[in-house]
Symmetry: C2
Subunit: 350 residues, 2 copies
């Protein structure tokens, strides 16, 4: 497994072609996923290892991605912390968002094996079902992103509650981020112990702040997670690649590489060649096709894939979308992307 | 009026201190604005020159900004184009969004004096009421931003309909953008003829695309607006500064200056010093405090103002927020920002 294409690319070792996976690859764009969802709620899927395993494997079996990613949700850690979350179709909702220091003090750093047992069971089951065909990526929400959900109570347009806490009550923000960072670290540690071959920290809303505040909040706590993780016995035993993804990373490129991750995720709003110039050669890069570009005809998708492959180069690149695939995407257009990456990145036999 | 601080800064001429205004300065954070809104709907405000004039002047009288901006909404041009818009508290809604080429062909480029007479009447009334105290900024939504509203039917999380059109039906996208650009140009031209001393093109959602698509869509059509505008008799007579604002401009800095605008707006997610390095000295810059930073205590606001002033330098800088002020903002914190800009940017008497 350590020799798998995806893991070698994460370590910037030579590869015979560029590996590809896709954020939200197990999701609503796939008819087979929608069939499973017709008989079970989103939370049931996350909490039933057989169902999580079934949908995790669908894109591997049907589209041939080079890595599987655990079917789950970043907010799954909030209930055991003490914050109930509902998942209606309109997006996640927290009925009693965190707005006071007292509420932060009541939150609890969970024991993942005891309090999120279905996640660990899912990982073990998926690993068995994959039978070493491709590596399995575990994941968690990065601290700042988790804070936005906990504080806003769901998605947000302007993150006013988040910013009121960050700038108006920074001691509360740091206390909350500290708990979220410790939760994130033990959760990823447990996923590695259960069998995850790589882990990704999703900072989906890490890009809502100024460059100075990026260092003070999202980056600082992502770094802390990565340090805690690297110091853990589970990591020491397996040394799996750590991926850090900030959606909207362009303003922070001078600092991005200092996260300590092995791989940096790159969204679609920046040239991956510019990211490489600014972050240097010490990390692998993952990205960065606009999920919306999959609405283009297959010939145009192929042109855009070729452009990204040329900008990224052959060393230390994992092809991915710049954010999660859109539910309205035609799976045949996804297939066109996968085929283009496989064909266009292959080293000709010499 | 041509010698006013704000206009000199737009032209990169020497100034005795940095001018300041604030996007959405006439808005819900002001108790006096909420009083007017209690007796009139949002659309009534936009369509009644006396009310539009009253709220436009409130932040000038109460907080001492160096420029007024017409109270209106970028979507106000859609109904005369043939697209009805409602403005409930939850945000604008278009009941029949544009999804077909036939729908685009039915849209009409309005005659602003005939079809948006209340806007022109508002400008004339505001100019009279201001009595040359400060310049008046007119504005319009940039073509790509207007397309997102027309196509999505309101705000959006992922702009899936927009991207389906841009990448799946580019000929439709170009046809729609062309009509929106011509509308935008004649509308700004009429505002200048009515008395606006500067105009701003808001590309609030210009930042949702890759750098290549930025050149192909938002930038290309903003350029077209600016070219059409500069070729107009109204512009030739007064040569007012043209401001182009892309929210989320960081990924596009190598191209941003080629818009042809005199002033570039800078959101808060990028250092204004980096923007200056990348766009060169040919344009003025406007920005870039995080609207959320106004939740910080006044002493911290002052520190952040000082940081931006130091990064921006004294030549060709207009202080502003990086996006519209948040409705939850304390007006006294806005006052702290204005005071800090006035005090910290003043050239000591020599």
């Amino acid at each position: 497994m350590a020799d798998h294409l995806f893991l070698r690319a994460c370590r910037r070792e030579p590869v015979e072609r560029t590996p590809i996976w896709m954020m939200r690859q197990a999701g609503r764009y796939l008819p087979s996923y929608r069939e499973v969802r017709a008989r079970a709620s989103f939370l049931d899927l996350c909490r039933t290892p057989e169902l999580a395993c079934e949908v995790t494997l669908q894109p591997i079996d049907q589209l041939g991605f080079d890595a599987a990613i655990l079917f789950s949700d970043i907010l799954i850690t909030l209930p055991p912390m003490g914050l109930e979350v509902a998942f209606p179709e309109s997006g996640p909702k927290i009925a009693t968002p965190i707005r006071t220091h007292a509420a932060i003090e009541k939150l609890h750093v969970p024991d993942p094996e005891a309090e999120l047992p279905y996640v660990m069971a899912s990982i073990r089951l998926i690993k068995q079902a994959l039978a070493d065909r491709v590596p399995l990526i575990g994941f968690a929400g990065a601290p700042l992103t988790m804070l936005t959900y906990a504080v806003e109570g769901g998605g947000s347009k302007d993150y006013a509650h988040t910013k009121r806490m960050l700038y108006g009550a920074p001691e509360s923000a740091h206390a909350l981020l500290d708990k979220l960072a410790r939760t994130c670290a033990v959760y990823l540690e447990a996923q590695i112990a259960a069998g995850a071959d790589a882990v990704q920290l999703f900072d989906s809303w890490g890009g809502i702040v100024s460059p100075g505040d990026f260092r003070e909040y999202p980056l600082r706590y992502a770094k802390r997670v990565i340090e805690l993780l690297r110091a853990s016995p589970a990591y020491a035993a397996r040394k799996v690649p750590i991926i850090y993804f900030v959606n909207g990373c362009a303003p922070y490129l001078d600092d991005y590489a200092s996260s300590g991750a092995d791989v940096l995720g790159v969204d679609w709003r920046v040239g991956i060649d510019e990211v490489r110039r600014r972050v240097g050669d010490g990390v692998a890069l993952q990205g960065n096709l606009d999920p919306g570009a999959l609405f283009a005809p297959p010939s145009e998708i192929r042109t855009r894939v070729a452009d990204i492959l040329a900008r990224a180069g052959t060393r230390g690149h994992i092809f991915n979308l710049g954010h999660g695939v859109l539910p309205e995407t035609d799976p045949e257009h996804v297939r066109a992307m996968v085929t283009a990456v496989r064909e266009l990145s292959s080293t000709p036999a010499s």
